[in-house]
């Protein structure tokens, strides 16, 4: 279990990084939490490993009016602990379920997005929030929205010669609420089924879910109509009523969403059951959170 030989470089600037990535079979390494085991098992044999940990500026966490910008080498654990990241509550809900603390202290947010494991939490967080990714190549950088970024399992819009330089997670607004849940065999394992939920009660009721672990990438659905139909008492409808109402139909929704074969840990049917439970719990929770957010401010 030793990696095959590879060349290694550690550029200091984004320009140099992109230049190094023009080599044949070059691969970026940041936290290495997914890549290093793959190298050790010789499942990947890049000719060059481009280590971006010394690249100036990639370790920054920035806040503007619209989004939290997370640079390519920002560790998941930093985002979990940094007070500025509190403006993206869904990220904070999801991060404790990303591997274990030891893994998060090395693993990067952008690395998880670029790796795009179908069972990973962070791609669905970005997809649920409608965030975007900054990709830098030889001709400059471009912003790609989540729905254009995640293409298939372990496949994103990033080209082999490009680098994900940052991810943008939209800041929560008044009247927005969030839910996050997953089931895994053990704490820290990849999810058997998971869901991210965003509900906005600010004007029209808008509800979005992004599911993970159940298909070859984040499955995003607009469930505004579903939620609205549950609000029998308008904004005074209780969380329990919403949960019970959704649970009656969540099975059908889950049946539609789950598109993966079973494995040693969970059959397709069991994943549907888990997802339907998550959908009713977390949509209701996000709804409740959104109502609270409305009331807190007013």
């Amino acid at each position: 279990m030793k990696a095959a030989a590879f060349a290694y470089c550690r550029p200091a600037t984004v320009e140099d990084t992109v230049a190094e990535l023009q080599r044949e079979e070059a691969k970026v390494i940041a936290g290495g939490q997914s890549l290093v085991p793959v190298l050790a098992m010789r499942l990947a044999r890049p000719r060059t490993l481009v280590d971006i940990n010394s690249v100036a500026g990639l370790g920054r966490l920035d806040l503007d009016d619209d989004a939290l910008r997370i640079g390519a080498t920002v560790r998941q654990r930093c985002v979990e602990l940094d007070a500025r990241a509190g403006v993206v509550p869904l990220l904070r809900l999801a991060l404790p379920s990303v591997g274990h603390r030891e893994l998060r202290s090395r693993g990067t947010v952008c690395g998880s997005l670029a790796h795009d494991d179908p069972a990973a939490e962070l791609p669905s967080v970005l997809a649920c929030l409608g965030g975007s990714v900054e990709i830098t190549g030889p001709t400059g950088f471009r912003r790609v929205t989540a729905d254009q970024f995640f293409l298939a399992a372990m496949t994103t819009a990033t080209q082999p010669h490009e680098l994900v330089t940052a991810a943008f997670f939209p800041i929560a607004r008044r009247g927005e609420g969030f839910g996050f849940g997953e089931f895994a065999r053990r704490h820290g394992d990849f999810a058997l089924a998971g869901v991210c939920v965003k509900v906005s009660m600010a004007q029209a009721i808008v509800a979005t879910i992004a599911c993970f672990g159940v298909a070859d990438g984040p499955v995003v659905r607009d469930v505004s109509g579903l939620l609205e139909s549950m609000l029998t008492d308008g904004p005074d409808t209780t969380e329990d009523t919403v949960r019970d109402g959704i649970s009656a139909v969540a099975g059908d929704l889950a049946y539609d969403i789950v598109d993966t074969d079973g494995d040693v840990h969970a059959s397709r049917e069991y994943r549907r059951t888990l997802l339907s439970v998550l959908l009713s719990r977390e949509i209701a929770r996000a709804y409740h959170d959104a109502v609270r957010s409305m009331r807190e401010v007013s």
Binding site: M1, K2, A3, A5, F183, R186, H187, V264, Y270, V277
Partner: protein
Amino acid sequence: MTGQEAYHGARIEDPALLCGEGRFLDDLDPFPGTLVAAIVRSPHPHARIRDIDLERARSYPGVATVIGPAEVSAALKPFPLSVRTPMPYLPSAIDRARYVGEPIAVVVASNRYTAEDAADLVSVDYEPLAAVVDTRASLDPHAPRLHEDADSNIATDRTFSFGDVAAAFAGARKTVRGEYSFPRYSSTPMECYVVIADWRNTAEGPQVVAHANFHGPFSMLQVVAGSLGIPTSSFRLIVPPDIGGSFGIKAAIYPYVALMAVASKHAGRPVRWTEDRGEHLLASSAGSDREMVFEAAIDDFGVISALRVDLVDNVGAYLRPPEPSTLYRCFGNLTGAYRIAALEVRARAVVTNKAPTGLNRGFGGQQLYFGLERLIDEIAVHCELDPAEVRRRNMITADAFPYATPSGGIYDSGDYPRALSMTLENADYIGLRARQAEARVRGELVGIGLATVVDPSATNIGYVGLATPEADRQAGRGKSGSTEHVRVSVDPQGIVSVMLGTVPQGQGHATVARQVVAAQLGLPLHQVRPIVDMDTATTPWTISSGSYSSRFSPLLTSALCEATDRIAETLRAAASVLLQTDPEELELADGVIRVRSDHQRSVQFRHAAGLVHWDPGALPDGANGRLYEDAAFRPPQSTTAARTDQINSSLCYGFVAELVLVRIDPQTFELTVEQVVTTHDAGTVLNTTLLQGQVHGALVHGLGGAIYEELRYSDAGQPISATFMDYLCPTSAEASFDLVAAELQTPSPLTRLGAKGCGEGSSMSLPVALANAVADALRPLGVEIDRLPLHGDVLYRLVNRARAS
């Protein structure tokens, strides 16, 4: 010194381990210039090797040698097996690969990277053959045959009958029968296998020196030497002071010792092989999976008069010694905690295209008790009795010891009803049942499971003989024994050295040995220095030596007492000169040797020791003048198998009464262990901290097998749990259940301190206690539990199947 105070406190092993100063074999470099090996393994579960090309690998820069089937078959004879079945076993495949991960060739190079690069260049022309992995399928005479010289895949098949089983069943009011499966899982020690082998040709023939993190049984030394075709005295094995866990799994390192010896022979240099995690999960060892049928003859009151047992172990591709011992390790305690006079057992082992099996914490016990204790719960259901009550009605009572079981076990001591009562009281069993009834009304799924198991320790390795029919067992070639050897010496300054051959894997043998010797000689702890490095050239050892079957507490500490008795006698003789008194008047205590009736008259321990070293001429006549003592504790109760096929398969029999409380989410079927209440009787407790550590460790090991871990294969024979992504070990997050652990102490009359082993009990009881709890929780839904592991996906399937039918 008659009693031992149970000791709490830090282990002497820990400072070095916590500071990164442990001496594990991969940290050591006993032979500078050692080369490094990588192993080419079969990707096929079953294939004929038509051709193998090693030349490209041999010519790769940095490669010293590559050995394959030709070199191995020329240098090694098949390992001597425990039975005569023609299923030859060598450390690597010769003309056929029989499991995924079976070694095919060894590449020896300057470093592991180069060795793995060259291993990629070994090309093997395989002709895939039909594979069989399922135990029952492999019993079929038409199943793909693994070993061409054998007339079936059945490696051993013996039937034993004790008492009038037929009459008991004929006269029984009811019979209760259950079919059960036990899964294959490991203990996944943190440190994997490491071997360094050095082959030298000398005037007296080949000499092999091997370093390995092997922990016995040292009977395997004969197996390796037999394969190498050299006398045991020409094969020297050295074990480092630290081993990073094993739980039995590392006993199976010995084939690699032989393989690396051959690699060293061809390399002309010492060769090191460090197993990686992928290799470990694929091809190291595991407890054997078992299919079994248990059937009891009972009366109207749930009292069992006879038991019929049919066991089929899946030992993987080869009957690797010490298999088929999983079938026999618990032979003397097959009837568990119960008064069952008549017993019939059929014991079979079958080969399949899976990796070979072997020792695993609880060895044979978790498999046995899964059947027996599930059956007891089935009897409770049939008789509409509480499962605790069925156990109580059948239990051996405290006044019945020593108790002879039908299969030859002599239970040394115990109070099973009291241990069960302690567990039930500590769990508030009556209240728990009441709360369960309320929870059921609310639609909650809550279950309570019990297991009461006899925990054998200090194995009598003579049980291996039972695999051979009595008529074929040669007179004068019996096997028996649970002997442990030790050497204790005192230097001129009164420092006591203790040399152990028990090769600990992290259990804290040095801590306990120090504590026992200090207590026996009346010394402060710091005056005793245990040495746990093992070298077969210098450390006292015997066939049964090693760290397995919870031998240390009962056997090694008894040997320590015998050695320290003699040391004390010599020191009393020396002190009697200094104090001008009769040695019989003297005692060793508080670091001095003093007159029993007048503590003011005393000499320092070290002065008495100094006299023996410096002035032996002053010793009284008859004093032996020796301050080093080798002792062997050889319990006479451990004898070879009787002509009646009975055997006392262990010296000591402890006890565990365990209760598991589970909750199952009715929506997601997630299984949560809410509480474990356990009572252990390991005889006299020597060290409370270490006993608790063993109980915690065994519980979590059992939890792994019950819920998380399984070495699974596809029907075609491919392993599908070959990384830690799929082979799930419980972590601290999964082991945070509420635990109430209590101790009952009924000292063993057969060991010097009354201690029994305690390392494996809950590994045997927790899996079935948890299964009983899940069965209890799901009984209202009509679900039956007959196998492990149990987790959400499994329970979802079982509940849906029950609903459909």
